[in-house]
């Protein structure tokens, strides 16, 4: 069993959805039943694979990559097909494997206009493969390929199945991200050329990787895209100013994806126009590629630049928290409001990351998963509201608790979770991130970070404000005449229950047992924090 998992576990988890997509190509467009079966079967198979992996994962050793696959890939540039799973990847892998089947279940009756489930699900399966691949890749080029492949399916999901302004939104999403990616790949290539083999213990560790590293001497050019090798190198041999510029390239690539202020403006448009399923996946998983990139790639590989950038990231994160919340207060569209709330919430994650401490990074990992579940749920509900009311204009909604009581309760639950109520998952991404800012990594400006801490705490008030005002205007009160006796407004249906109840349970379980993520990700991020001296 272990041999099988070691050889094939990660590969199968990544490519089972893609295999599903290939199978689907062969199914005629008319047989929707078969298409949906494959659409659900493939992510479930991947999830089963993932569960097997998680059951066999050595949690006592979660700081090391497990089930590693290392094959030659593009020898010309020494880029290899390296996959691995550690405590940092595991929660995000679990999140992806968890969300996608639920999205498929939700889509069972909800394939948005203009229909065509075959194309819709094919894209979703390709997207899943790309997302999982991004979280498991341990080679920069491999990561970049997966990272970019996520773009196309999402571009089509928005551009084809989106709202009225889908073209503008999808192109904006595509080009914005591409703009950042371009700088990112340049940074990767620069690392390839400039990074040298380190000295001391790091050199031993590098040599232990074997292969071309086995007999490297300190100062030899690394010529590698391997994340482990580059991490051991720690940007040795790169002048500090150059390192800062290289980090800047990654900052653009990842920061746009997060999205960080002031690169957030693609997000409200993309979310508002995307079909529900697209919004859920975008919020739940795709945004995390950015934050994950910071933790996995940018910080450990160029620690010296991470320390220089940390104050800027921290400041932008807190601006994002406050600014995103203010943006929410100004919205008149429910979905757009939820989209803006992502800007604010991801600010907490980035604040945690910017402290460069184990606690902060751990909070960030938790925040990613929590935000994925909670905002995913919010978008689900918003989608179902839209389907029933044919509008998300907050002014026209109201009395959801009367028209569809159960849905109103679920919205209330998600609202409370989103504003960081303790006992639910959101709190554990928020409070520890604020806490970590009190005591940032050695060498960072304590006064600055403590100021950021207080401002971030102020952000929690604004979050409560916009979420509760949203809830008051949509759920409380009595339905307006327009919708009072509308037969289309029905309560939560079977498929919605199936898709939502696991998320509801997940939010509560993580709220009461935060160790499920903290204990797993902790050792992995601690290693990273040590490399930057936090």
């Amino acid at each position: 069993m272990m041999n099988f998992l070691n050889d094939w576990g990660l590969v199968l988890t990544i490519f089972l959805p893609l295999a599903g997509a290939l199978v689907m190509m062969a199914i005629p467009k008319q047989s929707e039943g078969a298409i949906k079966l494959v659409a659900l079967g493939a992510p479930l198979a991947a999830a089963a694979m993932g569960i097997l992996l998680m059951l066999n994962f050595d949690y006592g050793d979660s700081e090391h990559l497990q089930f590693m696959v290392n094959k030659n890939w593009i020898e010309l540039i020494n880029s290899n097909f390296i996959l691995g799973l550690d405590g940092l990847s595991l929660p995000l892998l679990a999140l992806t494997l968890f969300i996608v089947p639920l999205v498929v279940i939700y889509s069972w009756q909800h394939v948005p206009n203009p229909g065509n489930p075959k194309a819709f699900f094919t894209l979703m399966l390709i997207l899943e493969t790309a997302m999982i691949g991004s979280f498991l890749a341990q080679d920069l080029i491999l990561f970049f390929v997966f990272f970019e492949v996520t773009l196309l399916p999402m571009y089509f999901l928005i551009g084809v199945w989106g709202g009225e302004q889908r073209r503008y939104a999808s192109i904006k999403f595509f080009l914005y991200t591409l703009f950042g990616s371009a700088f990112m790949i340049v940074a990767f290539v620069a690392l390839y050329f400039l990074a040298k083999a380190p000295t001391g213990i790091a050199l031993e560790q590098l040599r232990a990787l074997g292969g071309s590293y086995a007999d490297m001497q300190a100062g030899d050019p690394l010529h590698s895209f391997g994340m482990q090798a580059l991490t051991y190198s720690g940007a040795a041999g790169i002048a500090k100013t150059t390192a800062i510029v290289i980090f800047g390239g990654m900052f653009l690539g990842f920061g746009i994806k997060v999205p960080m202020f002031p690169f957030h403006t693609w997000l409200p448009d993309a979310h508002t126009q995307a079909p529900t399923q697209g919004s859920v996946i975008l919020a739940a998983v795709l945004l995390k590629l950015g934050t994950y990139g910071f933790i996995r790639i940018a910080i450990p590989i160029i620690p010296v630049a991470a320390r220089a950038w940390a104050p800027i990231i921290g400041i932008l994160a807190v601006i994002g928290i406050i600014y995103g919340a203010l943006g929410c207060l100004a919205q008149t569209d429910m979905k757009r409001l939820i989209a803006f709330s992502s800007v604010s919430h991801m600010g907490y994650t980035m604040l945690g990351i910017s402290t460069l401490t184990a606690f902060g990074l751990n909070a960030a990992v938790f925040g990613m998963v929590a935000h994925g579940l909670i905002t995913g749920l919010l978008f689900f509900v918003a989608g179902s509201v839209k389907e029933r009311y044919h509008t998300l204009d907050i002014k026209r909604l109201g009395g959801l608790l009367i028209s569809a009581p159960k849905m109103g309760w679920i919205l209330g639950f998600a609202t409370m979770a989103s504003l960081g109520l303790p006992g639910l998952a959101g709190f554990w991404g928020e409070f520890p991130a604020i806490l970590s800012a009190y005591d940032p990594a050695v060498g960072l400006n304590v006064v600055l970070f403590r100021t950021l801490m207080v401002l971030a705490a102020v952000g929690t008030v604004l979050a409560a404000g916009y979420l509760l005002w949203l809830y008051q205007r949509t759920a409380f009160g009595t339905p307006s005449e327009e919708f009072a006796n509308d037969p289309n407004i029905t309560d939560v249906n079977k498929f919605e229950w199936l898709a939502w109840s696991p998320i509801l349970a997940g939010i509560v379980i993580l709220g009461f047992f935060p160790g499920l993520i903290f204990n797993v990700a902790g050792p992995a991020v601690e290693v990273i924090a040590r490399t930057v001296g936090g």
Partner: protein, 739 residues
């Protein structure tokens, strides 16, 4: 011991009750109310048993004094919860053994009010909650006199409120949900009082807040109710900034530990710098201001009366709103050291408390709504408790919390009974009157509770309020208890005067004169009156649990029992001094109360001071002051209209405008320029130079299949081309730079 290590069962029971009501309540014959009552009854019995065990546990405390015994007293603290306590316990045991072998240990001297106290033996149990790097964060229970006290108060009031509610909210549209939330609230409150660490306290603190939100907004169909719920939640969130920051500061101050015992012992024994304690305590005071309705964050509490009345009694009078007081008491060394309570004459805590006590009482005068009078009265009485904590009278504060829970819950439930009879109106000026004869049980219980609140001898309020007044250490004969807080004594006496007067006013409007409402009122049923009678009785007699030590004519073991069992002694609690009972002060405080009652009696009942009646209509100065009171000092205007209005309006719109116009304007400009130059490149370079590359891009794009046709844009080739062009250019630049 079993009860102390398994005390988690009590909140767990209530949490289970919540789930059962939520999922099965509607199918039950009594719609879930019976589940709630059975569980809260069981919780109350368990709480009483725990209380009994605590008394026994305290009584057979081994004799021993001094630091060694104080360390040894911490032997029942699980070392994994509090490393500092474990260390102290280990040292203590070692010393005790050594001393036991050599000679009898020497008493460490009578520093505590003249008589020696044996160190309290708290029982702390915990389990690993989660790990963060090398740190383990635990979750567990801390059992000592203080938590056991609240355990009993919360379960008792909750039980009575459950019973009361079965009649009061009978036939409500969300009857089952109402009881579910009562259970959830009780569970959260018990979780909060049993907290072993400050992180857990935050969790409980927020959970009671959300229950309060849900219950204030119980009738959310009407906008004023949901507005009140939102106001409560958001105001508390403002205070929570202080809570979060304070807990964080203290976490690092205690050497990265959330443990309450760690923090208290270190703060008490000088292990934390004064400045950190000062910052931490000031932050936490902000949280107290919101949760316990202290000036200037009190404005949510009167509005919270929009919720059902039993909820007001339970949450907004007896239990949740004292969470702030409880927290200060729980972390007392932080405040005692941080604010230098001992030996000074003013500090932030006592000042806020005294201002609240007085200004809240004044607002109660201009209310027409009987519940609002009681709400402001609660604000004012919470001010008494906070002042007491601020002047070092810890026991007095907790004692007042205890007595206040009974008589104020009685008053709220009494107001509920009145409104039940008067077509659900709480307007005592326009819709009540003359109910004394019609509702005798409500009247008498209300009267007793009023007298207790006004501090009439020998009802419970007299004893607890007197202790607070003495605790200021200002009155001749009690000087220098912990300091000399003269201003506080004066303000509290004035507040006590106002309290007696405004309560007399409510009695006049509700029970005397002619009935001014509609229909024919009637006395409420037994499920409403029984809780009233129980609470009024307790409100009358609860004072006997802490009779002054000066009463040496009483048998031994009848004095200061409350202090003996509730107040901790030892390393985790500061050495506070207790002000003795002062007959002169007692007389003054009773006279002040009687003066308030008497003047109000003459004014309302006897139409005395004719010149004062309708003064505000005739006199501009009086009108000015009345206007200030009617507008509640304009705090609501400041918060809602000015601050919230600004943030929601111009500020939010400006942020949105910035995104939509400045940032996106730039993005769109770049986009247009890029498309323009792309077109130029396409026409002039691409077609001629890189033809092959584009063809390649085009064919791979069409390889994506039928997808392309779906887009109906037909422009994907262009974007793909753009992408490849961009990457080619960047790569070119890069090669040049690197090369």
């Amino acid at each position: 011991m079993w009860f102390f290590t398994h005390v988690w069962i009590i909140p767990a029971l209530m949490a289970l009750s919540f789930l059962l009501i939520l999922f099965f309540g509607k199918k039950m014959p009594k719609k879930g109310a019976e589940i709630g009552i059975v569980f809260v009854g069981a919780a109350f019995v368990l709480a009483l048993l725990t209380g009994g065990n605590w008394i026994a546990w305290s009584n057979d405390n081994p004799e021993g004094h001094g630091p060694a015994a104080e360390g040894a007293a911490l032997a029942n603290v699980d070392p994994s919860c509090s490393s500092v306590a474990a260390e102290a316990a280990a040292v203590g045991e070692g010393v005790e053994q050594v001393e036991g072998k050599t000679a009898a240990s020497e008493p460490a001297g009578a520093e505590k009010g003249g008589h020696e106290e044996v160190a309290t033996r708290p029982v702390v149990s915990c389990v690993n909650w989660f790990e963060n790097g090398d740190q383990t964060i635990s979750i567990g229970t801390l059992v000592d006199g203080q938590s056991v006290l609240l355990l009993i108060v919360v379960t008792l009031i909750s039980l009575l409120v459950h019973v009361f509610s079965t009649d009061y909210v009978h036939g409500d549209r969300r009857y089952t949900h109402y009881f579910a939330f009562l259970s959830l609230f009780t569970a959260s409150m018990l979780f909060f009082v049993l907290s072993e660490n400050t992180l857990q306290m935050i969790v409980g603190w927020e959970l009671v807040g959300v229950c309060s939100f849900a219950l204030i907004g119980h009738w959310w169909e009407e906008k004023p109710n949901s507005d009140a719920a939102l106001k409560a939640f958001l105001t508390n969130r403002v205070g929570d900034i202080g809570l979060l920051v304070g807990v964080i500061v203290l976490y690092f101050a205690a050497g990265k530990s959330f443990s309450i015992l760690d923090l208290n012992i270190l703060a008490n024994e000088g292990g934390i710098s004064h400045n950190l304690l000062l910052i931490g305590s000031l932050c936490l005071i902000t949280a107290v201001m919101s949760k316990s309705g202290q000036f200037i964050l009190h404005t949510w509490l009167p509005d919270a009366m929009a919720g059902p009345t039993p909820v007001s009694a339970l949450i907004h009078a007896a239990t949740m709103v004292v969470a702030g007081v409880y927290m200060v008491a729980r972390l007392y060394p932080v405040f005692f050291e941080g604010l230098s309570i001992s030996g000074s004459s003013v500090n932030a805590l006592s000042m806020i408390g005294a201002i609240t006590a007085l200004f809240g009482a004044m607002l109660a005068f201009v209310q027409k709504d009987i519940k609002k009078v009681l709400a402001y009265s609660t604000v004012s009485q919470l001010g008494f408790m906070v002042t007491a904590l601020g002047v070092g009278a810890w026991t007095a504060a907790l004692f007042h919390l205890f007595t206040h829970a009974f008589f104020k819950a009685c008053l709220f439930l009494g107001a509920g009974s009145l409104s039940h009879a008067c077509h659900h109106s709480f307007n005592m000026v326009d819709d009540m009157g003359g109910l004394r004869k019609i509702m005798p049980k409500t009247f008498w219980t209300y009267l007793v509770a009023t007298a207790a609140l006004a501090g009439v001898f020998p009802l419970s309020g007299f004893w607890s309020k007197d202790e607070i007044l003495a605790g200021t250490g200002s009155f001749p004969g009690t000087q220098g208890a912990n300091g000399e807080y003269h201003v506080m004594l004066v303000m509290l006496l004035l507040a006590a005067f106002c309290t007696a007067a405004y309560m007399t006013r409510t009695i006049w409007y509700a029970f005397y004169g002619e009935y001014r409402g509609h229909g024919t009122p009637h006395e409420s049923g037994p499920r409403i009156t029984t809780p009233l009678i129980i609470l009024a009785s307790l409100g009358a007699i609860a004072g006997i649990v802490n009779l002054p030590a000066a009463f040496d004519f009483l048998p031994e073991g009848a004095q200061t029992r409350f202090e003996h069992y509730v107040e901790p002694v030892g390393l985790y609690f500061p050495a506070i001094t207790h002000a003795g009972f002062n007959p002169a002060l007692a007389v003054v405080s009773v006279l002040v109360g009687l003066a308030g009652i008497g003047l109000a009696y003459l004014y309302f009942f006897k139409d005395a001071f004719a010149g004062l009646h309708g003064l505000a209509e005739r006199n501009k100065v009086a009108a000015f002051f009345k206007n200030i009171l009617v507008n509640k000092y304009y705090f609501d205007w400041l918060y809602t209209t000015v601050i919230v209005g600004f943030v929601k309006g111009p500020l939010a719109r400006a942020a949105n405008w910035f995104s939509a116009n400045v940032i996106d304007g730039l993005v769109n400009l770049v986009g247009k320029t890029a498309v323009g130059s792309g077109n130029w490149v396409y026409k002039n370079v691409d077609q001629k130079v890189v033809d092959g590359a584009v063809n390649g891009a085009g064919s791979s794009a069409s390889g994506v299949g039928a997808m392309l046709r779906l887009t109906q844009t037909g422009r994907i080739q262009q974007y793909a081309a753009l992408f490849f062009a961009a990457v080619a250019i960047l790569a070119g630049v890069f090669v040049v730079v690197i090369g």
